[in-house]
């Protein structure tokens, strides 16, 4: 089972390498120039952070559509803090933005977990609410590069040993959340909740608390992404991050996280984000006309979902066959290597239980 999942991420990574390879063959500067290398790593870093957070939410069979608005709000907040409180250290500004993001995420989580309203509807609502707050606050005002400290803007492009700072931030986020999701009790419970929310409740899992946590984490990461956005682009208007939620969900889906929860990894989502944006950048370089680029990205998303479906069906057929053939109880994942505290059915392989 795990090899299949691994293959899924390996597949995305392979496609990513092919895209990079082909583009570099056509235009060597895509990878081999200093700027090309930097952009390759730098461009996806914001989306990777968002995708990691979104993956956690999607794994619980929820979705957070408000991330683009949270990013916009925190990016504007970041710029505003630099203007209104000029002496504030960058770390404090970033922290305020992350805390704000966390609070916004908690609002989402609280409504979803406590009021039991579908996350799709709630976060569609908060998407507009949060954007409305930004619009009211910012109006036609804009944060320009000149308003923010040079040292902060430099973070947006600075490299350490050839690796951009923002990419390092994204990698740390990915590693930390990935480790949590894979090894900790809380992380495994998120999978269990996504696989079968009712079963998770019956099992006595703290469903509400976990959901709150997942949304708060996603909000915090969207807040962090807002800071990264301000540093990278140097201009923040009230429209910053508009439409980004769809890109994020696209990245998560392409990355192999099932939209109905319970399976997939944050690493896959991160790879999905890299693939989407790298393709976005590669298409103009290889000479695909502007207007076709979106169509290609759309086809990719549909392809990823179709592949997901095919794989899931094949798996459940095979498992059903195994169940019919073998003695009762042998359909569980033969996965003894995982830590003991993992609750039953909470593995990355429990997808088939939800679909069977």
């Amino acid at each position: 089972m795990r090899t299949v999942l691994r293959r899924r991420e390996a597949g995305i990574a392979l496609v990513l390498l092919v895209v990079i390879g082909v583009t570099t063959a056509i235009q060597p500067g895509f990878l081999l120039s200093g700027g090309g290398w930097r952009d390759l790593l730098l461009t996806p870093s914001i989306l990777v952070v968002l995708a990691v957070g979104q993956a956690v939410v999607v794994i619980t069979r929820n979705v957070d559509l408000s991330v683009g608005s949270v990013l916009g709000l925190t990016a504007y907040l970041t710029g505003r803090l630099f203007i209104d409180v000029p002496d504030l250290p960058i770390v404090v500004v970033a922290l305020v933005a992350v805390i704000t993001g966390t609070l916004l995420g908690l609002v989402n989580g609280a409504i979803v977990a406590l009021a039991r309203v579908p996350a799709l509807v709630i976060t569609l609502g908060t998407l507009y609410v949060y954007r409305g707050v930004t619009l009211t606050w910012a109006g036609s005002d804009r944060i320009d590069a000149g308003d923010m400290p040079r040292t902060f803007l430099a973070l947006g492009t600075r490299q350490v040993l050839g690796i951009p700072v923002l990419t390092i931030v994204a990698a740390i986020v990915l590693a930390a959340v990935g480790y949590y999701m894979y090894t900790s009790r809380g992380g495994r419970q998120l999978y269990a909740i996504g696989s079968d929310p009712d079963a998770a409740t019956l099992q006595g899992l703290p469903v509400r608390r976990r959901l709150l946590w997942a949304f708060a984490l996603n909000g915090a990461l969207a807040g962090l992404a807002g800071v990264m956005f301000a540093a990278r682009y140097g201009t923040v208007s009230s429209g910053a991050g508009t439409g980004m939620e769809l890109q994020v969900v696209g990245a998560v889906v392409v990355g192999g996280v099932a939209i109905f929860g319970g399976s997939g990894t944050v690493a896959g989502a991160a790879l999905g984000a890299m693939l989407l944006l790298t393709i976005n950048r590669a298409l103009p370089v290889v000479g695909i006309p502007d207007f076709w680029q979106r169509a290609v990205v759309g086809a990719l998303i549909i392809g990823a979902i179709a592949l997901d479906r095919v794989l899931a069906n094949r798996r459940s057929r095979r498992l059903a066959a195994e169940r019919d053939a073998g003695p009762p109880g042998s359909a569980g994942p033969p996965d003894g290597s995982r830590p003991e505290q993992t609750p039953p059915g909470a593995g990355p392989s429990d997808r088939e239980e939800a679909t069977a």
Binding site: F30, G35, V285
Partner: protein, 337 residues
């Protein structure tokens, strides 16, 4: 804020009515400029662009001995200007200078004001022609296209590959300018080749990434023209932090605040836009000329606009400010919008 400014305008209206009542024994046919009141109604308040245009309006009013009062909504929503127009009409101000949030939504209110004897001048953003006496246009499409080509040609030494980074593919203004630039390139700039036009959708991120792609797919690119404020800032930001800084020219239409950083660090030599202070100045001069009865807004009317010289009313009651204004290192510090 919105409510209080409406209140303030309302109070002013009451006061003005009182004043009018007091002065009703006069013959009312003065026609001089001594007691001309002009209401300035930008799209919204607190917008640095309109603060600059109001400064120009006050300058003109000072020269004319008129009074300018600025009122306006907090947000640029289509009908937010209506109560302010109604108030101005009740006040019986001589002229209303307005940047329309919507070409039709404020039409009825403007018509009422005109029926009450107030002259209406639009600037920056027009209404349908039947709702106003004059439109002070900041720049013509030809002027914008010519100026941008002139700038890029100067900056790349008159020859080489250039690309255009536009707003969205269906942006009417940008497409008109690009079409004119293409024509002009073919006829007047034989050594400059336009290799590609890309669309950044007026989104920072998209424009930024399109700039990166342009630079990679055209290694010999010498310049990028972006006729949109979002695009030019994003392109400048990308170029300023890349190895192309100083090698690839970036120009187009931008605002000084957005571009200050990049002009100061040498990424951008010069870019264009109109000067909103001049625009407000001219609109106020035109309003005063209308109020004084010097012009009626007919095509061919001419009027004197102080330091800007003489202007002629064109077709559809349009007055053209002139060529776009060029911002560079020497003057960018004078502007804040």
């Amino acid at each position: 804020m919105k409510f209080t400014s409406v209140l303030a305008a309302g109070t002013a209206a009451v006061l003005a009515l009182g004043l009018t009542a007091c002065g009703s024994s006069d013959d009312g046919g003065g026609g001089g400029t001594e007691d001309v009141t002009i209401t300035m109604l930008p799209k919204n308040l607190g917008n640095p662009y309109f603060e600059a245009s109001t400064a120009g309006a006050e300058e003109a009013a000072g020269e004319l001995g008129a009074t300018v009062e600025e009122v306006g909504p907090d947000t640029a929503s289509p009908d937010a200007q209506v109560p302010f127009i109604n108030t101005a009409a009740q006040q019986g101000v001589a002229a209303l200078v307005v940047s329309a949030n919507d070409p039709t939504a404020i039409g009825d209110a403007l018509q009422e004001a005109r029926d009450a004897g107030t002259k209406v001048v639009t600037f920056d953003s027009d209404t349908e022609p039947q709702f106003r006496d004059l439109f002070v246009n900041q720049a013509s499409a030809e002027g914008i296209a010519d100026k941008q080509l002139e700038l890029i040609s100067d900056q790349i030494g008159g020859e080489g590959e250039i690309a255009i980074l536009s707003a969205s593919a269906n942006a009417t203004n940008q497409n008109a300018w690009i079409a004119l630039m293409e024509e002009k390139l073919a006829s007047d700039y034989p050594d400059i080749e336009l290799v590609e036009t890309v669309y950044g959708d007026d989104d920072d991120q998209t424009s930024f990434d399109k700039t990166a792609a342009l630079l990679q797919s055209h290694p010999d690119l010498k310049g990028i023209v972006s006729p949109t404020t979002v695009g030019i800032a994003a392109a400048a930001r990308y170029v300023s932090t890349s190895e192309y800084k100083g090698k690839v020219a970036v120009t187009g239409l931008g605002t000084p605040n957005q571009m200050r950083e990049y002009v100061e660090d040498g990424t951008v030599e010069a870019f264009a836009l109109w000067n909103p202070t001049d625009l407000g100045y001219l609109a106020t001069q035109a309003a005063a000329a209308l109020a004084a009865g010097d012009i009626t807004g007919e095509e061919g009317d001419t009027f004197e606009a102080g330091r800007l010289g003489e202007f002629t009313v064109g077709a559809d009651g349009e007055v053209l400010l002139g060529e776009p204004f060029v911002f560079d290192e020497s003057n960018i510090a004078d502007f804040d919008f």
